[in-house]
C-alpha cells in the first residue's frame, strides 16, 4: 500500500526531474542519435536471420530499450550517490517516509524521462528509416519498453546505494555495458555462441529486449520474460529499499 507520504515525494521528484532541462534533453536525444548511427550500418531491407524482421525495426526496439535503460540507470545511480554524499538522504530518513516510498519516488521520476526517449526513437525510425508496424504494435511497444525500464530504474537506485562518489560511475558503466551487450540490445543474441546465449537468456536486458521483439513479430510477450523481469524488479527494488534503511554514509 502506497501511503500519502510517498505521493508527496513522488510528485516533487517528478517535478524536479522535468525541471532539469539539460538532463532531459540529452537523455531524450541520445538514443535516437545512437539509433541513426547503428541502423546506418545495415541496408533498410536486410532481415535478421530466421525472422521476417528488418534490422531497422529490430534496432528501433532495441535502441528505444537501450535509451530508456541508459536514462534510468545512469540518471538514478549518479544522482542518488550525490544526494547521499550531500546528506539529503540522511535528512529524509528522519521523516515518516517508508523506505519503499523513497525507492518508488526515484523509479517514478526516472519513468518520466524514459517515455519521451522511447517516443522520439519511434518517430525517428518511422520518419527516417521508414519502419512500419501496426498501430496496436506502436502502442504496445511503447508500453512494454516503458514498463520494462522500471526494472532498471530500480537497479539504478540500488547501485546508487552500493557505491559512493567516484566508484558509482565506473560501476554503473560496467553493469550498463555488460547488460546491454550480453542481453542482446546491440546485436541480436541469436548471433552469440551457444554457451553465451545460455547465459544471456537469464539476463534482465535479454528479457527486456524480447518483450519488444515478440510484439514486433506480431505476438505477445513470453510469460517467461515477463516473469524474469518481475523477479528482477522485486530483487532490485527490495535491495534498494534495504540499502536505503542501512545507509550510514555521512556528509
Amino acid at each position: 500500500m502506497l501511503s500519502l507520504f510517498s505521493w508527496a515525494l513522488i510528485r516533487l521528484e517528478v517535478t524536479r526531474t522535468l525541471r532539469n532541462k539539460k538532463f532531459m534533453f540529452f537523455s531524450v536525444i541520445y538514443p535516437s542519435v545512437i539509433y541513426l548511427l547503428i541502423s546506418s550500418t545495415q541496408n533498410t531491407s536486410d532481415r535478421i536471420p530466421h525472422t521476417d524482421l528488418t534490422f531497422q525495426a529490430f534496432f528501433m526496439v532495441s535502441m528505444a530499450s537501450f535509451g530508456a535503460l541508459t536514462a534510468v540507470l545512469m540518471g538514478n545511480s549518479e544522482r542518488i550517490a550525490k544526494e547521499r554524499e550531500k546528506g539529503w538522504v540522511r535528512q529524509l530518513r528522519l521523516t515518516a517516509l517508508p523506505s519503499r516510498g523513497y525507492v518508488l519516488a526515484k523509479i517514478a521520476s526516472a519513468a518520466v524521462v524514459t517515455l519521451p526517449c522511447i517516443v522520439v526513437v519511434f518517430l525517428v525510425a518511422a520518419a527516417v528509416k521508414h519502419v512500419r508496424v501496426e498501430t496496436w504494435q506502436w502502442f504496445a511497444l511503447a508500453g512494454v519498453i516503458w514498463a520494462g525500464s522500471l526494472v532498471f530504474a530500480a537497479l539504478g537506485v540500488a547501485i546508487g546505494y552500493l557505491a559512493g562518489g567516484d566508484a558509482v560511475r565506473p560501476l554503473t558503466m560496467i553493469i550498463y555495458f555488460g547488460l546491454s551487450v550480453l542481453g542482446g540490445l546491440w546485436m541480436p543474441s541469436a548471433t552469440f555462441p551457444q554457451w553465451l546465449q545460455n547465459i544471456a537468456e537469464w539476463l534482465p536486458t535479454h528479457a527486456y529486449a524480447s518483450l519488444g521483439q515478440a510484439i514486433e513479430m506480431g505476438g505477445s510477450p513470453h510469460a517467461k520474460d515477463v516473469a524474469i523481469l518481475c523477479a528482477y524488479f522485486l530483487i532490485f527494488a527490495g535491495g534498494a529499499a534495504w540499502l536505503y534503511r542501512k545507509d550510514t554514509l555521512k556528509a
Binding site: 516533487l12 535528512q91 515518516a96
Partner: protein, 312 residues
C-alpha cells in the same frame, strides 16, 4: 504486572533513555557505556570537545545508526518507530537539502511527510524564510540553509527536537532570533536537545547541560552546577602595602594563585573561606572581586581534569 506498570510510567515520563549504550568504529569507542534520561519539556545542551561522541550519540538517538550494545529508547519505543510516528524532528549538521526545488516546495514536502504537520506558511514564517520561499534551494547562503533545515525539523508537532550545532553559519542577530523561536518550542512542552560549540548558548538557553568526553558522560547538571563542579571561583584584589607572598600562598582552599606586583589573583575551592582568611591575615584588600568561572572555563577544567586522570 508491577514491571509493566513501571515500564508504562517510565515510557510516559522519559523522552529519551540511553542504557549502557556503546558504539565503536573499529578501535575507536565513540560512545562508551552511556546512560542517561531526558525528560519531557527539558532543554538540554550537549557539550564536548571534537570527537567526544556528540554526533554519534545523536545518530544513535535518531536511529541513523544502531548501538553495538545497550538500548536506546525514545518515548518508550525504538528511535525508528519514534521517527516514523513523527515524534522527533531533527536538524543535522550533515543533513543536506534536496536540489532543483524551491524553499517552499521542500518545506512543503517536509510538512507532507509529517503525520501531524503544521501549515507550510506557518513553518516558513517561524523559520524566518517566508521572504525567500520561492528561491531555489541550491542558491541559498549558509545561514539561509540553516534556517531551511530548522524549518524541516519543525514541520510538524514533534515532541522532541534534536539540533546538531544549529547556529553554525548564523550571525549574532540570526542566532538570537533562532534561540527565541527555539524557546517557544520548549515553552510548548517540547524536549529540545542541542549540541553546540558555543558555550554561552548552552549557558543562556539550556536547563541542563551534559558534558561528553570520549563517549562518556563527565558531567550532568544545570550550567551553575557544572561551573561549581569545576570546583573553583576566581578572587582578585590589590594590596596597598608590601606583599607577604608566603602568607598568601598559605591561604586555605587555594587551587591556584598568581601575584603580579601588588595585584593578587586566586582560584579557590571555597571563596568565602579564602576571603575570610585574607582578612584574618590583617590585610586590607582593595578592589576585591569574587566571580564564578564561566561555563567555558568550567568545561575546559572538567575535560582537562579527565584527560589528566585517564593519562595516568
Amino acid at each position: 504486572m508491577t514491571t509493566t506498570a513501571a515500564e508504562a510510567t517510565g515510557a510516559k515520563t522519559t523522552a529519551v533513555r540511553f542504557e549502557q549504550v556503546s558504539k565503536a568504529y573499529g578501535a575507536v569507542r565513540a560512545v562508551d557505556g552511556l546512560t542517561l534520561d531526558l525528560h519531557p519539556g527539558e532543554t538540554v545542551a550537549l557539550l564536548g570537545p571534537n570527537g567526544a561522541g556528540k554526533s554519534s550519540t545523536l545518530d544513535l538517538l535518531l536511529g541513523l545508526r544502531t548501538a553495538d550494545s545497550g538500548t536506546v529508547r525514545v518515548f518508550g519505543t525504538t528511535p525508528q518507530n519514534a521517527v516514523a510516528a513523527g515524534r522527533v524532528g531533527a536538524m543535522l549538521q550533515t543533513g543536506g537539502l534536496m536540489e532543483d526545488v524551491t524553499v517552499k516546495e521542500l518545506v512543503g514536502l517536509a510538512c507532507a511527510l509529517h503525520p501531524r504537520p503544521h501549515p507550510v506558511v506557518e513553518v516558513l514564517s517561524r523559520a524566518g524564510i517566508g521572504r525567500i520561499a520561492d528561491r531555489m534551494v541550491n542558491k541559498l547562503s549558509g545561514g539561509q540553509e540553516q534556517r531551511v533545515r530548522f524549518a524541516l525539523a519543525t514541520a510538524g508537532a514533534n515532541d522532541l527536537i534534536v539540533l546538531d550545532e544549529p547556529t553554525t553559519g548564523m550571525d549574532v542577530t540570526a542566532r538570537q532570533a533562532f534561540w527565541a523561536t527555539m524557546r517557544e518550542q520548549a515553552d510548548q512542552g517540547r524536549t529540545v536537545l542541542f549540541a553546540t560549540h558555543y558555550l554561552e548558548e548552552a549557558d543562556a538557553i539550556a536547563d541542563r547541560v551534559l558534558v561528553l568526553h570520549k563517549g562518556r558522560l563527565l558531567a550532568d547538571g544545570t550550567a551553575a552546577e557544572i561551573k561549581a563542579k569545576a570546583g573553583a571561583r576566581r578572587i582578585s584584589f590589590e594590596l596597598a602595602g608590601p606583599v607577604d607572598e608566603a602568607a598568601l600562598r598559605g591561604l586555605p582552599f587555594l587551587a591556584a594563585i598568581d601575584i603580579t606586583g601588588n595585584r593578587v589573583r586566586i582560584q579557590s575551592h571555597d571563596a568565602d573561606a579564602t576571603v575570610h582568611a585574607v582578612y584574618g591575615l590583617g590585610l586590607h584588600p582593595r578592589a576585591l572581586e569574587v566571580a564564578g568561572l564561566g561555563l567555558e572555563q568550567a568545561f575546559v577544567a572538567i575535560t582537562e581534569a579527565e584527560e589528566a586522570r585517564t593519562a595516568c
